[in-house]
């Protein structure tokens, strides 16, 4: 990934993008404080930091989404000061966000040429647009029907379309904000190929991610931010992983996630049956019938590729979808599970993967979000007094170290990791016996990540039963007593004891897997 030869000697010397002394405060609190970032021609540059480090603000400040308080941005030596994302795009800085900002109900071609459709006599030249779309996407190895609505395609394809659009609009700098968060390994590979290809053509790519493996797989250099300040800029190849994590966290981390700590030596035989037993549980066309027995203090990991039925299983377990096969017994008694309310009544809790749309109620305060499930279970006529609410909120804010520790802040203003902790608090307040966590660490910074894993272990020693879905196998291995591997919406393997290791899980996932449909 050496910088490709630039058109002129001058541009080779000047960096593609030079940001100097960028500062931005919100209501008096500095979100960025004198940050310098240098992006060279043809390089892939990682922008890293914990949530709240200032990455998002940085992107918004250089693309004009927010006005900057101080600092300069030069593009090929010429100062630029876009006042909107649109002006930034015209200047050559394109941003593709994690949530793709395109229109799912329009066709792929319409999305590619939105606002700049080829026209003749004021009419859109559909055929021309489609032809150019196909040609454009061919560069991205994307052979899809450009006349189909964008929403019909996977998130990965939507990302590639968004990137193709940006590149075609003569972007010189591409900012990718968490592009891989919802992609599977195969899709990430495709995206990386496209990124390398674009970098080879001289584009500068600023890559924001939480996946350190990906940082090492693709980036040339790394800039680390912490609490709105620049920590350092390094060559990726010369920066050991521990050193990188140290830069990001500002403290030595015991590397909770990536090592394989001895699990609290396989506990004295889990009670014979398991207190919560799902037998032959399933729903036609949704998840094939499965058995699942959960004893208190056990963590069951659900592994599998995206679309393998992990989330669907979680939704069946929590009564979001009603099973049409099988039965559930709790402590030997048959129990009906027709709605989340039923599940909650029996002491279940569920943190969904879609934290923003299904988890938090953004407008309500942290306190209100924390007491919500408990209050719903008590019923409207048995309100928790304000004093009780304050006490509960304060207890969990302290216990889980939710930041900022202000119970009256709307939860939507918190970082992802703190929102996740507040959601955990919502369920812990109901004193559950089974907690179902769907990708609890997705989109969360390294520090919060480690804390949540520590919390999962701690909850399990306190006697909770946990079902945890995660794409990060090292993570699952570090806490799970048992791992269920899923494929095509059915359980294909159950690994226990010694068999719980990354290699075994990978083998189980890969076994007889039909090639991924593109």
């Amino acid at each position: 990934m050496s910088p490709s030869p630039s058109p002129t000697a001058a541009t080779a010397a000047t960096p593609l993008l030079a940001v100097r002394g960028l500062s931005k405060s919100f209501a008096g609190f500095p979100a960025l404080d004198g940050v310098d970032v240098t992006l060279r021609h043809g390089e892939i540059h990682a922008l890293l930091g914990e949530n709240g480090a200032g990455k998002s603000t940085f992107i918004k400040a250089i693309t004009g989404v927010v006005t900057r308080d101080a600092g300069t941005v030069t593009l090929d030596g010429a100062p630029v000061a876009p006042r909107s994302a649109d002006e930034a795009l015209k200047a050559g800085i394109a941003t593709v966000y994690q949530e793709v900002n395109l229109l799912p109900n329009l066709t792929v071609a319409q999305n590619l040429f939105l606002g700049r459709q080829p026209t003749r006599f004021g009419l859109v030249r559909e055929v021309e647009m489609r032809r150019r779309s196909i040609a454009l996407l061919r560069d991205f190895d994307l052979d899809i029907d450009v006349g189909a609505p964008l929403g019909d395609y996977s998130v990965a394809v939507q990302h590639l379309v968004a990137i193709a659009r940006a590149v075609d609009m003569s972007a010189r700098i591409l900012i990718l904000d968490e592009p891989t968060a919802s992609l599977d390994a195969h899709e990430v590979e495709i995206l990386f190929r496209v990124m390398r290809n674009l970098a080879g053509k001289g584009l500068g790519i600023l890559f924001v991610t939480h996946f350190l493996d990906q940082v090492y797989a693709i980036t040339d250099r790394i800039t680390v931010l912490r609490n709105g300040r620049l920590v350092g800029e390094r060559e990726t190849a010369a920066l050991p992983r521990m050193e990188l994590i140290r830069m990001m966290l500002g403290r030595e981390l015991s590397e909770a996630a990536s090592e394989h700590p001895a699990k609290a030596a396989t506990e004295a035989a889990p009670d014979a049956g398991g207190a919560i037993r799902f037998e032959g549980f399933g729903k036609a066309g949704y998840v094939a019938p499965f058995d699942l027995a959960l004893a208190s203090g056990q963590v069951v990991g659900l592994a599998g590729l995206l679309g393998s039925g992990r989330t669907e299983t979680a939704r069946l377990l929590f009564g979001v979808e009603s099973a049409d096969h099988g039965r559930l017994t709790i402590d030997g008694e048959a129990v009906r599970l027709a709605s989340p309310r039923d599940a909650i009544r029996h002491g279940f809790g569920y943190c969904p993967e879609e934290r923003k749309t299904e988890g938090i109620v953004a407008e309500l305060t942290v306190r209100e979000n924390i007491v919500l499930a408990l209050q719903a279970r008590r019923g409207a006529l048995h309100p928790l007094s304000r004093r009780e609410q304050d006490a509960i909120a304060q207890r969990f804010i302290t216990m889980l170290d939710i930041r900022p520790p202000d119970p009256e802040r709307p939860i939507g203003l918190l970082s992802g990791g703190n929102q996740q902790k507040a959601l955990l608090a919502r369920w812990l307040a109901t004193e559950p016996r089974l907690l179902i966590l769907d990708e609890p660490t997705r989109g969360i910074d390294v520090g919060a990540h480690a804390e949540i894993i520590r919390l999962i272990r701690q909850l399990c020693t306190e006697g909770l039963a946990l079902v945890v879905i995660s794409s990060e196998l090292e993570e699952i291995v570090s806490y799970a007593d048992r791992v269920i591997v899923m494929r095509d919406r059915r359980q294909t393997a159950v690994l226990e004891g010694e068999a719980v290791n990354v290699t075994a899980i990978l083998q189980a996932i890969a076994a007889d897997t039909p090639p991924l449909a593109a």
Partner: protein
């Protein structure tokens, strides 16, 4: 925390006071109050008295809007309840009359609630059905005529007084008080706000979002029926064609003035009533000023625009920026 409520309602209170002061400037007798036959009279009292029906409607509407819904049928439900009350007033005992009229309102609300929460029809369409059909039902009840009645008991709901205060004012204040106690004294308010702000997350947290949604439409129907009774009692009769006509729009406006988002979430019962009173104060002021009727709607629109501009988060953001720039 201690300052939260006043700060939240400040633009609304300010708007109300400004309208009152303008009314005073236009008509120096505006605040004159006299006692006659054991009842207070005067333009200022009139604002509360005339504003009662819309205030009642907004007490219902504000909860519907908080669940991200809207109830266009309240004007028609007023007509139905008024028609029933007027038709029965001279032949049945008062409790029967009230039960029948309020019962009809509850049924109408239940219908709306089922269409929205069970059948999943968009609120604006679901309640449009009853908005159109309701007026027809009211006409069927009155058999197409303007029904008048003489029952003094029912008439008290419009022209009577309790401790000098007009009954509609007392009634509205009581409904507000009961609603505040029932909704903010319990967890209903939180559950409604959560449902409106994020229905999916709320359902996953164990809130009965469907029941909650049905309940707010039933409540809105009840409030509309009460408003219909007051309106019928006021004119000693029911005009199915005109009773409550377009008042649903005033009620929605009152709720918006109260700072509620039509996208659901946070709401304030007291501010909704204040919004309705502000609208009525404007109506009264325009009448007092002797504007030609053609100007009334324009003046009202401008004032409403000003109130909404004062609340616009984007505008206040600009104000903050302007204030900061010199520094």
């Amino acid at each position: 925390m201690r300052f939260r409520l006043p700060r939240k309602g400040l633009p609304q209170i300010a708007a109300f006071v400004v309208v009152l002061l303008i009314n005073f400037a236009v008509s120096p007798q505006f605040f004159d109050i006299r006692l006659q036959d054991g009842r207070l009279f005067g333009s200022f009292i009139d604002v509360f008295n005339r504003g009662a029906p819309v205030a009642l409607l907004s007490l219902g509407m504000v909860l519907v809007v908080a669940t991200r819904g809207i109830d266009l049928s309240v004007g028609a439900v007023m007509a139905i309840a008024g028609a029933i009350a007027a038709t029965l007033a001279d032949t049945h005992a008062l409790p029967v009359v009230l039960l029948a009229a309020l019962g009809a309102g509850l049924l109408c609300g239940l219908w709306n609630g089922i269409l929205v929460a069970v059948l999943g029809i968009q609120p604006i369409i679901a309640t449009l059905i009853l908005m159109v059909a309701g007026r027809g039902i009211a006409q069927l009840i009155t058999e197409g005529r303007i029904v008048t009645f003489t029952s003094p008991e029912l008439a008290r709901f419009g022209g009577g007084a309790i401790l000098g205060l007009p009954v509609p004012v007392v009634l509205t204040a009581s409904v507000l008080a009961v609603a505040v106690i029932a909704i903010r004294g319990t967890a209903l308010g939180l559950l409604i706000e959560a449902t409106g702000a994020n229905a999916r997350a709320s359902a996953l947290a164990g809130i009965e979002t469907r029941t909650t949604t049905i309940a707010v439409y039933v409540w809105s129907g009840f409030c509309a029926a009460l408003a219909g009774i007051v309106a019928a009692a006021d004119i000693l009769g029911a005009d199915a064609n005109n009773a409550g006509l377009w008042l649903e729009l005033d009620a929605i406006l009152a709720v918006v003035i109260a700072g509620s988002s039509l996208l659901g979430g946070r709401f304030s019962l007291a501010l909704a009533v204040l919004g309705a009173l502000t609208i009525q104060a404007m109506n009264t002021g325009i009448l007092l000023a002797g504007f030609r009727p053609e100007f009334n709607l324009v003046v009202k629109a401008v004032v409403v625009l000003l109130v909404l501009l004062a609340q616009s988060p984007r505008l206040s953001g600009v104000a903050v920026l302007l204030a900061r720039r010199p520094a």
